[in-house]
């Protein structure tokens, strides 16, 4: 019976999680991507319970600007003066994704399930197109995305927030 509470919140998605596609023109460049998913958090350390609210309070909404700033900070911190190293990058990708996740968690967006996706690619002059598409409730769900580009690599970090009703 406690399971009920534990499982609280409703994942209405069969909701398709953000689907990101990355097209790279042929060439030798590498692209690494990592996605990290968190469980919806009601308050720190607690799982979300069922409520009658189907809309988040304003202060708990997923705010794109704040998240963007956080992502930007993380990216700058992690990637400044870094060059693309195929050995190092997979770990780097994961690290960044985790860092962003924890950063965004601190924003206390209640009842949001976060999906953080980080893509790091080598810059060799190839053209890259990346696009994301989500099946979600545009009222509650949102995403923030930042791009970091330097001479040897580009990094796209996106955080998607899905509200748990």
């Amino acid at each position: 019976m406690s399971a009920d509470k534990l499982m609280g919140g409703t994942n209405l998605r069969a909701r398709v999680y953000p689907r990101t596609q990355c097209r790279v023109t042929p060439g030798g460049a590498e692209v690494r991507r990592v996605a990290v998913v968190t469980e919806p958090v009601a308050k720190v350390g607690k799982m979300a319970e069922n409520t009658y609210n189907i809309r988040p309070a304003f202060q708990h909404r997923f705010k794109t600007e704040i998240v963007k700033g956080k992502i930007n900070n993380v990216l700058k911190e992690e990637l400044s003066n870094k060059s693309y190293d195929p050995e190092e990058i997979p770990n780097m990708t994961r690290k960044i994704a985790e860092a962003i996740k924890t950063e965004v968690k601190e924003c206390a967006f209640e009842r949001y399930k976060l999906v953080v996706q980080v893509v790091i690619g080598e810059q060799r002059g190839e053209g890259v197109k990346m696009a994301a598409r989500c099946f979600w409730d545009a009222d509650t769900d949102n995403f923030a995305q930042e791009v970091y580009v330097n001479d040897s690599l580009f990094c796209v970090a996106a955080a998607f927030g899905c509200y748990y009703y």
């Binding site: 994942n11 069922n50 002059g125 053209g127 990346m130 598409r133 979600w136 791009v147 796209v156 009703y165």
Partner: protein, 1077 residues
């Protein structure tokens, strides 16, 4: 099941060791023991594994089948079915006899047996194992194993011991099984699969057999015997209990299906608990009481056997250590071979072999020492079969691996098989009591099982597995004891969990369904997360090389080294201006006009300059001519010098030109301004030299210093009576013709508008008159021959005495506007104004009809004066006198003097009152028909003039008086005077030419009565004479121009005494004249 097999192997190994050990130690005693145990075992076998015997049979049959299959695969299916059935029938029939004998023994445990038989399907492996164990020499122990498996409860220690030992293997096999199960499921019902499974099963059995044979070489025959007995008994038992069997089989078939499910979820993982569970379930249901009993009896036996087996095990282990692996292998191999070899025999010979073997085995039973030898002989004997066996071995090895996979199939097959059997039996035997009650019971059971299965299926297999896997370890005993209830417990947990999860799921689903009504989920717009355009090559280059520590540099190679020229010196430019025609002092100027002199130079009148140049050119030309002339004169002309006494030299103008050849010179006239310029008029030639000029009179313009050729050649068609230059300069020539026309030439005209003629290799330009009054001004024009043409130059005469300056001023004014007087014979004096046109018209003028195209001078009639009006009336009675010549008074052009043919000279004026004397008369008689041939004014004093008359008289008149001062009548002996000429340099001297070519030189200072000298040139008569000299320059050469009849023109240079004036000569002359008067 796997585990069981493993156990059997191990057991067999152990048993083998054990056997040896025992035999070595105990000798026949063991045999007894064995026998006893065997007997006991037999009972138990019959009770517990009755079916296993029959299985043995089947097993053999199948082996045989297998061989056949190999031989002919096509017939496989058919054969199996039929043969199997057939075999079985035979067997059954065969076994029917002993069945009755042994039925009593079995009665006790019949039901149990049957149940076990029914459960064969499930527990075939175990049964197989059991078979193996049963066949072992250590029958008891095998039985123990059987019991263990049948009822695991009885010997926990042993069980645990074994299970522990083999658990690992079990697990491994379980896993394999699980894996294989998936593959199998699909094939479960498949015939081929079944067959395969049978093969494997058979192989399993083969291996078991092998183990049997290995383990119990001594007991082989015994076993065989026993087996056959047992089988027979089984069959008998079966036949007798067909009714029961059939029922049970039916149930079993249903159960089998159920158990299939069970198997999936449970069995595979654990055979121990499951076995117990499965086996016990039916037992519980059907014969709880019986089972309890059986269990009790079995317990006792097992306890007994356990002890033995423990001992065996110990020994076995002890031996194990000692034994070498190589030996083991050897044995094992041989063991495998033995049964294989034996099998074909068994299969082919079948029952014969079966019956024979026991005897052999019996004989050998006692002599266990012979075992090895026997075996070796076996091997030797059956070497030829080795190939076939080899294959079998291979297959066996395979099958051992796979056998577990096909257990299910095997079971299924068994089901089918037994169903067939059942049917057969049912058909054969009375389909007796099949009470509806039992059927219902079966149905109920089926339902219960299916329900159970479904529950189990629904619960997650994983959790179940865990529980199952954990449980056996934890509480084997418990599981043994509470085996039946355990399955339900597991099911409950799974079901509970499932229930919970489904509950949660349904809740969530409900919630989501409700929420979804309130929430709109939509596909978001596609977010473009990154759009990194591909770099072009240049960007890549710059990216790679255009950054740090690099410089871009360019080097020009020679290929595109372009060579070009350019003007680098600055152009010097100066701004200047100029103006044309230059008027005023400044003709040109500019920024840097520093040289004043140049500008001054340009200030010089260009007209004056051109004039200067013209004259200079002439001078130069003259000088050159002179050089040439001197040179020639030294040769030719100088010889003729002394032709005249008064002259000291002479030169000739070159009139020996083709167009002048044969022409007589009619007139010579010097220009008043340019004293060296001479006009000579040439008459028509006597014989035409040049055809073009035959009918033309020619006027030549000469420069006497250029004697070689005339400067200009003027052409006129009518006879020229008189000619003169213009007053200012020698640029225009006028002439009067016989037919009364006045003609003008402009010497400045360009040569191109005139006709040029190539004569004798030299080009001559023949100038036609620029203007002619012929036929143009008919009203005012002369109607008779023009006797005299004379320009009226007022300026010249006005500024008399100011010689050079006057000349210069005249030249400067270029006065082409002047008057010209022409006098014809009838006394008509016409005055013309010579007008120069500003612009020549090459197309010709419409108004000026007498003008040549391109000509610029024309004559305009100014006034006409009838000279006859000046004559007195008395003279007019004889008719109007013929006027012959006219002279204007040099000091006043208003006065003119006209000579007549009556010996008188009339004096007239152009305008104003007539002045006295009107007539100048000779001294003697006033009027007589004497022509005044010439009048010439003295160049000094200008008031005296000489008149020559045709009667040879010469009169010297003064303008003021009508009578002459002096008159010489007989100076020429009556010959008419042709020309009287005052000398230009001396005032008291004049020359007279008479018609007979005499020249008289008069010097009034020396002698005033007769000429001082007289020359007569009769050889070549002189036609006309002109005097050369300049009154202004007395020192300059002066001479006489003589035109000869032959056409030659000579210049006789006067001697110094004649040409140089004396001191006060004019005063002396005046004095003499005063004295004479």
């Amino acid at each position: 099941m796997r585990s069981s097999k493993g156990k059997t192997k191990d057991d067999t190994w152990k048993s083998e060791e054990l056997l040896k050990h025992i035999k070595a130690a105990q000798g026949d005693h063991t045999d007894d023991n064995d026998k006893k145990s065997r007997e006991k075992k037999r009972h138990k076998d019959e009770a517990s594994t009755g079916s296993s015997d029959s299985r043995e049979h089947r097993h053999r049959e199948r082996e045989r089948d297998k061989e056949r299959e190999r031989e002919r695969d096509k017939d496989r299916v058919r054969n199996k079915g039929k043969e199997r059935d057939g075999d079985r029938h035979k067997e059954r029939e065969h076994e029917k006899v002993p069945k009755k004998v042994k039925s009593e023994e079995r009665d006790k445990e019949k039901k149990q047996e049957k149940e076990r038989e029914k459960h064969k399907n499930r527990d075939r492996d175990k049964e197989k194992d059991r078979e193996g164990e049963l066949d072992c020499s250590a029958d008891q122990r095998a039985r123990n194993k059987d019991k263990e498996r049948n009822s695991n409860t009885e010997r926990p220690t042993n069980r645990g011991h074994e299970s522990e030992r083999h658990r690992d293997k079990d697990k491994e096999r379980d896993k394999k099984k699980e894996r294989d199960k998936l593959q199998e499921k699909a094939k479960e019902k498949d015939e081929i699969g079944d067959q395969r499974s049978k093969h494997r099963q058979r192989k399993d059995k083969v291996s078991n057999c092998a183990s049997e044979n290995l383990d119990l070489p001594k007991d082989d025959k015994n076993e065989e015997k026993e087996r056959k007995h047992r089988e027979r008994k089984d069959k008998e038992g079966r036949s007798t209990e067909n009714s029961e069997e059939s029922k049970e089989k039916k149930r079993r078939s249903s159960e089998v299906k159920d158990e299939d499910h069970d198997r999936r979820y449970k069995e595979r993982k654990e055979h121990g608990p499951r076995d117990g569970h499965r086996e016990k379930r039916p037992k519980e249901r059907k014969e709880p009481g019986q089972e309890g009993r059986v269990e009790e009896t079995e317990k006792k036996r097992r306890e007994r056997k356990d002890k033995e087996s423990k001992e065996d095990e110990k020994k076995h282990r002890y031996k194990d250590i000692k034994e070498q692996s190589g030996k083991k292998k050897k044995e094992r191999r041989s063991v495998q071979e033995v049964p294989n070899e034996r099998r074909p025999k068994g299969s082919t010979v079948e029952q014969v072999a079966c019956q024979e073997k026991p005897t052999e085995s019996l004989s050998e039973e006692s002599t266990s020492g012979l075992q090895s030898t026997w075996r070796s002989s076996w091997i030797g004997l059956n070497d030829d079969d080795a190939l076939v066996e080899g294959e079998e071995i291979a297959m066996d090895s395979q099958s051992t691996i796979e056998s577990s996979n096909y257990e299910d199939d095997f079971e299924d097959y068994e089901d089918d098989f037994e169903d067939d059997e059942c049917e057969d039996e049912e058909v054969e035997q009375e389909k007796e009591e099949m009470p509806a009650r039992q059927r219902a019971e079966i149905e109920e059971i089926k339902k219960a099982i299916s329900a159970e299965n479904e529950q189990i299926r629904a619960t997650q297999t994983r959790s179940n597995r865990k529980t199952y896997e954990e449980e056996p370890k934890r509480d084997f005993e418990i599981s043994q004891t509470s085996g039946p209830s355990r399955g339900t417990f597991i099911d409950f947990v799974a079901a509970k969990q499932r229930e919970i999860s489904s509950k949660v799921a349904s809740k969530q689903k409900k919630r989501s369904v409700e929420l979804l009504r309130l929430i709109d989920l939509d596909f978001s717009v596609t977010f473009s997360m990154l759009d990194l355009p591909p770099l072009n090559e240049y960007d890549v280059y710059i990216k790679n090389f255009g950054r740090t520590n690099t410089k871009q540099a360019f080097v020009q190679c020679n290929e595109d080294n372009v060579d070009r020229e350019s003007q680098t010196d600055e152009l010097d430019t100066v701004e200047k201006w100029t103006q044309h025609p230059g008027e005023g002092s400044l003709v040109c100027g500019g920024v840097n006009v520093s040289d004043a002199s140049s500008s001054v130079a340009t200030n010089v009148d260009s007209r004056r300059l051109t004039n200067f140049l013209k004259s200079a050119c002439q001078v130069i030309a003259v000088l050159l001519e002179e050089d040439q002339a001197e040179y020639q004169a030294s040769q030719n002309i100088q010889s003729k010098t002394a032709s005249l006494s008064v002259s000291d030299g002479c030169s000739q103008l070159n009139t020996n030109l083709p167009f002048l050849h044969g022409r007589k010179v009619l007139c010579l006239r010097f220009s008043q301004v340019q004293r060296q310029t001479l006009l000579s008029v040439h008459s028509l030639p006597k014989e035409p030299g040049v055809a073009q000029l035959a009918s033309n009179y020619i006027i030549c313009v000469w420069n006497i210093w250029e004697p070689s050729a005339p400067q200009k050649v003027l052409v006129c068609e009518s006879e020229v009576q008189c000619c003169c230059f213009g007053p200012g300069n020698a640029i225009s020539v006028f002439a009067g013709t016989v037919d009364g026309s006045v003609i003008a030439w402009d010497l400045r005209e360009h040569s191109i508008i005139h006709y040029s003629l190539q004569i004798g290799g030299q080009e001559w330009i023949l100038r036609n008159p620029t203007f002619s009054t012929d036929g143009v001004l008919a009203a005012v024009n002369h109607s008779c021959a023009v006797k005299a043409v004379d320009p009226v130059s007022s300026a010249y005469f006005d500024n008399h005495g100011a010689g050079l300056s006057l000349l210069a001023s005249q030249e400067g004014s270029s006065g082409l506007s002047f008057q010209l007087a022409s006098l014809d014979e009838s006394g008509l004096l016409n005055l013309w104004v010579v007008v120069e046109l500003q612009k020549a018209d090459l197309a010709g003028s419409l108004t000026d009809l007498g003008l040549i195209p391109g000509g610029k001078i024309k004559l305009i009639h100014s006034s006409s004066i009838n000279v006859n009006s000046f004559f007195p009336r008395n003279l007019m009675q004889l008719g109007p006198p013929q006027t012959l010549s006219i002279r204007f008074l040099p000091s006043d052009p208003n006065h003119f003097f006209i000579g007549t043919d009556i010996g008188l000279v009339s004096h007239g004026t152009r305008h104003g009152l007539q002045t006295a004397p009107k007539l100048y008369k000779p001294q003697m008689n006033s009027v007589r028909p004497v022509q005044v041939t010439c009048i010439d004014f003295c160049h000094f004093g200008k008031t005296m003039f000489l008149v020559g008359c045709s009667d040879g008289t010469i009169r010297l008149h003064s303008v003021a008086t009508d009578h002459p001062i002096l008159q010489w009548n007989e100076s020429t002996q009556g010959r008419p005077i042709q020309t009287v000429l005052w000398a230009l340099t001396r005032p008291g001297m004049f020359f007279v030419l008479d018609e007979s070519s005499h020249i008289y030189v008069w010097d009034l200072l020396q002698n005033d009565s007769k000429p001082v000298a007289e020359e007569s040139l009769q050889l070549d008569r002189i036609t006309t004479i002109a005097i050369l000299g300049d009154p202004e320059k007395p020192s300059a050469s002066s001479g006489l121009m003589l035109a000869k009849q032959s056409g030659a023109i000579e210049i006789q240079y006067l001697k110094k005494q004649w040409s140089e004036p004396h001191l006060n000569e004019l005063e002396t002359l005046h004095y003499i004249l005063q004295k004479t008067i």
